[in-house]
Symmetry: C3
Subunit: 265 residues, 3 copies
């Protein structure tokens, strides 16, 4: 059963074990995702060269694959990293950034999901829908739909590929087979900070590194995101001071706040 | 006639329409320009792969071309993006970062301007001068001259290529043919935050996306930059807290502040 | 003799001369290192294309080579930049980010050191040890050892290659031949901000640009890092507000604070 106890226990594990999370991610979000992983107690590393990607995965406890600023050379490294993660049996968390916006993104994201080497897919509603439906509309990398609108696509993806699907929105939904967890924390400024979706993906990998129940791991990450966002929203003057407070709260978040504030649906 | 009413009206259009701005820009400034576009109400996307650059331009309302960390593969994507933008008749805003510093930058910038597919060129004085004069001195990516010193070069560029030229400095000048608008807002800490010039370029694209009078659009962006800078300067302890406050003010800027503070010359 | 007077004098030189520091560095740390260089009064530029790397080095007063997100094309540019710097007799500061984590990083870092074109090597203890010892353990890009544990390796490197070695940790040690300077300032939040090691490297290049005694230059940079960190730690709520305050303090640091607080060991 997923509860605030699960989140507290997992967060404390991350803080004590500092799992190494290997990220092949986009240029825009690299800095904030590295800082978010450090704030939560994990240890981030970014490496994309074919010359070292396998060696780095071998050191890691989880791998993030994020196609936010993809190009053929980077996709090749992603494929290699995912193969190595599969051999090593560590979780891969995929963020199909902008799937639906261009056919290159949609096809790359579908190809990566199709390898069967993904443990968790985390995206916004438009991106998740674009993985299963033709003609999904999207606006660059921003979602045009509510997370609820992507539930059917999430169940389909989960069933077909045996993955957990995590869809962010005012309520975040995490789906595995017939199971679903909703997390209703968060703040309206979150979509105004670039890379917060990518940050959710990176934190999901940190949770998956220490909790083999990937449904719970994905929900735990969204819980921590939403709680830090909610707390940050109480003391900010706009999106940039919100981002600073958000990262501070990832670091400061205590058992007490998690128990008192977590809204599971 | 450009006035605070123009800025208010354009800013409100950006906030209600959230135009998609496609950026092919440098690694240093990607994060802050994405955040600035979000703060102002626009929707940023970064994409540079030849495999998707045309598809992404087709979704966008304006394109930013910024040569801050250029390389041949990226320049190829820039050319392709500009061609697609020209076909689609959406504005391209070019930032010739570091033109004058190396011949590769100067020649690339001149080549891109020479295609005739640029609507607005936005740079500092050294960069603008380097586009028309041989032997312009520059110091990496920082200007060695006042914006006023680049006025003659701006008029030349505007006449020759039919573009708007926007030169940043203590007074920002925006030039088209014989027309000129000066904006005298801003703050001395602005040159101490990396990527604020690139941010001005990105905001210029957001304004050009919703106002087909590119002289006014370029001036509106500099107005908003200067006003947010001025307000940020009133409550900061150094360049980093200035940056946070600046992005917050892009989000918070109200009609009242624009009317009360804008200094048009 | 290294003292607070040295640091004050060097910092004032940087602020008045604004030396141009050319960085070939990693995607994660580009933004913060550029901002840190601006805050301290230097002028940063990032350029990695073979087409311009020599021209840019010719304008610069110091060069940073940082392998944090290396790939073959970037390493080629690094080699070219180092050769040009050697011809021009300006200092190269090398950051062997993640040496020891993968053999590609270890070998690349050793190769670059082996060219004999490096003035200062700045890294954490694991990285410095990995340059001379086989089988050094490391965890991605985070150190597993204290700076003291890398002293023997530092002396070896200094002797063999005629370089200054700067090892960061709770006490930072800077070594040249038989000389050693320790700086005991700093704050426990520093390892929780991504790119602060890279920032130390960039500031070291700024100091080396204006002080030809590279032992003192390297110690001066660590002094300023530690002092800004210490002051930032007094007024922050977590790692992100710490980073903001840290960059502000690089800008605000006065002679008085340096005299009163610097702890040389």
């Amino acid at each position: 059963m997923f509860s605030s106890e699960t989140v507290i226990s997992d967060l404390n594990k991350i803080r004590s074990q500092a799992p190494l999370v290997h990220n092949i991610t986009n240029y825009v979000a690299m800095n904030i995702t590295a800082n978010a992983l450090l704030s939560i107690g994990a240890s981030p590393v970014m490496a994309h060269a074919l010359e070292e990607v396998e060696d780095m995965v071998k050191l890691a406890s989880a791998v993030v694959i994020n196609i936010g600023t993809l190009s053929p050379a980077w996709v090749e490294a992603m494929v290699r990293a995912m193969e190595t993660a599969a051999e090593k049996k560590i979780p891969v968390v995929l963020d199909p950034v902008g799937a639906g916006a261009t056919s290159y993104r949609t096809e790359t994201a579908r190809y990566l999901v199709g390898t069967g080497q993904t443990a968790i897919i985390r995206g916004n509603a438009s991106e998740i829908k674009a993985l299963v439906e033709a003609g999904t509309r999207t606006k660059g990398v921003d979602s045009l739909e509510s997370s609820q609108a992507a539930l059917e696509a999430s169940y389909q993806l989960s069933k077909k590929f045996g993955v957990v699907v995590s869809v962010s929105g005012p309520v975040d939904y995490v789906v595995k087979d017939a199971d679903i967890i909703g997390v209703a924390n968060g703040h309206p400024l979150m979509p105004l900070v670039t890379g917060l979706g990518c940050t959710a993906t990176a934190l999901t990998a940190a949770f998956a590194a220490i909790n083999p129940d990937y449904l719970q791991a994905a929900a735990g990450a969204m819980a921590v995101m939403g709680l830090a966002g909610e707390l940050a929203g109480e003391s900010c003057a706009g999106p940039a001071s919100f981002q600073v407070a958000f990262l501070d709260w990832l670091y400061r978040l205590s058992d007490k706040e998690i128990s008192a504030r977590l809204k599971i649906k």
